[in-house]
Symmetry: C2
Subunit: 201 residues, 2 copies
Amino acid sequence: MPRAVAGPEIERLIQLLARLPGLGPRSARRAVLQLIKKREGLMAPLARALTDVLDKVVECKVCGNVDVCDPCTVCTDPVRDGRLLVVVSDVGDLWALERAGVLNARYHVLGGVLSPLDGVGPDDLNLSKLVARVVDQNVVEVILALGATVDGQTTAHYITDLLRDLPVRVTRLAQGVPVGGELDYLDEGTLSAAIRARTQM
Amino acid sequence: MPRAVAGPEIERLIQLLARLPGLGPRSARRAVLQLIKKREGLMAPLARALTDVLDKVVECKVCGNVDVCDPCTVCTDPVRDGRLLVVVSDVGDLWALERAGVLNARYHVLGGVLSPLDGVGPDDLNLSKLVARVVDQNVVEVILALGATVDGQTTAHYITDLLRDLPVRVTRLAQGVPVGGELDYLDEGTLSAAIRARTQM
């Protein structure tokens, strides 16, 4: 803006909201106007919710998930099958898999993937606890739900090596044509993987 | 989500953020993950900024703008030409005009436009103060910067009538081809308006 049209507090709120993924300066301004318009119905509850989460959020010491309790909601859920352990790189991936709703497992959040170029080595990831959990909790299968990127697959191979001598089955997500995907929009790598992993009708 | 993967505080924050314009449930989840990741750098300042604005935001009694002070930053800016008054329907329009940076005026925010269908009459708008300001502040021109909609133009005509007997020039924004606009994408109404209001080269 060429000149301030509102006090520094409002400008600062716009700037901070604009740093959220999915919002830019323009939509942050619209969001602030909406908040001011719905002061009691939206701005006050949002301020409370944010302060609440800020005060309470912790990293789960068992799995690396974030929650307001430690151990987290997933680790303490009595219905989940603790013998099935899903390894993900980030909390967002855990949430995404839970939305798919197909697993009844516990998780282990690495906090990233191995990336020599970015200086991320094994010691930077939540790996030692993973081995301890597999041993202590009688895990029978570890599903490596890591991205189909070079770094993701490097990490998958590293973890497979790490668990090689333990009595546990290590699997990874299938690669292939995404559901709803048109063949002529897919890259060659995905098509090759889908052909190699073809299944009987 | 089929099952809770995080405590109710985090779920509530996601739900509230999803109500902001430009964010949906999916991007609100990404935003919360980002906030948790940048706890000290983003979440804490955002919580403070939100509480700050919540505590301080007021409607300017002079012009209807929202700010943390009353009269607002625009009304108290000594450099602005108080004889030029721009009438807008909402605070967002004021901000948009300021971004254009072409005016050095004061504003008057109506808080909506006349809309018989939605039950918005003259008494629901910030109109009586407008007349008083034009008289008291020796305004020489009122620019009606209202939307080119039926309701916007109805409101413009209503205000023109209201100010008819006062020694003030009442103008409205030009209608025509938007800058960068291709003719064959424009509607007939805009093209007709642009032809009627054609200017000498």
